[in-house]
Symmetry: C2
Amino acid sequence: MASRETQNRILDAAITLFNKEGTSQVSTNRIAEAAGVSKGNLHYHFRTKQEITFTIWLRIEQEVDSWTGDASHPTVLHMAEMLHRQYSLIWRYRFFYRELTTLLDGDVDLKYRFRRQRIQRMEEIRLFFEALVDSGVATPPATPDTFPNLIRISWMVSDYWLSFISVDSRAIDAESMQEGFQLMLELFDPMLTNQAQAEIRECLRVFTVDVE
Amino acid sequence: MASRETQNRILDAAITLFNKEGTSQVSTNRIAEAAGVSKGNLHYHFRTKQEITFTIWLRIEQEVDSWTGDASHPTVLHMAEMLHRQYSLIWRYRFFYRELTTLLDGDVDLKYRFRRQRIQRMEEIRLFFEALVDSGVATPPATPDTFPNLIRISWMVSDYWLSFISVDSRAIDAESMQEGFQLMLELFDPMLTNQAQAEIRECLRVFTVDVE
């Protein structure tokens, strides 16, 4: 088995176990077992569990980095697709978002990369919102702070939704993911024109978060 | 020194140290020293650091429980005061909100009480919003889900703002607290009538989060 393939098998097994039980409950030995590789082979690829988590982040990062050119599609449909894409990612890496604060506090390199991408994506979303205004989908912001503020709020709603529902000891499942998704639509509703508001509600009937 | 007084001195010292360095960096011995009590005396009152944190929560809880009757004052000024009150509390117990997810995950009793109060406060805020509509300060919600959704979003913005800024390695200070406060006003702006929007912006010039 090629080195790259082994690494991916280990990461896939780790994601499955972390999502199910949380990072603190899963040892590297169990990950090795689930991936069907020896302990020695796992440690050849990843010295620590933290290295595994960091490399999983690199996967997330790569996927998010591929989300380019949003501002070239300033439509309600694309906006709904962006949200759908975001929540499907959070679902697939739900352990990461569930444990976000702890993971970032425990790894300065991870925090650095997470921050760097957050800054970059926030700027891309701002450009997308401005394009929405130019294309008549969104109404012009009341103040220069309106869009940056709205984007920050949306980041909190998306990154901390799983922390929020964990207080209620609710399961992370299709229903709770869909609820988080709908909060985002509620948040963006006031910036849209009446027609766009109706369109995005229509999208809601079609889009559901992928939780397979 | 009376038992109750000793307990309060220990809690005050713990809050100061926790706010400065985080709970994990502060030992009960250092709390005893800062409070001017013996280690034995501290352990007579609190068996563990977790018990200290839990008792600090009881203080927060008591303060929040005293915020009754909001719905009897459905005005913009009272709304600004509610937000101001909330952010001043978060500032005084900033370690608690900074470490929220970790603290709740580590103590089922704390999580239970936190959840119970959150449910209760959310209902009180919902009644306040409905009173705002009745008094003509807010516009009627688009759907029955609008207010509950808005309240959930506001909870995330308030409870996770300190986690959000920690990603940027930003200090928790007057400036960052004020920014969090303004996000809330941005969030509630769309539900208010035009006149109320102007009034709440006026309030913003007067209110700043108490950070002494």
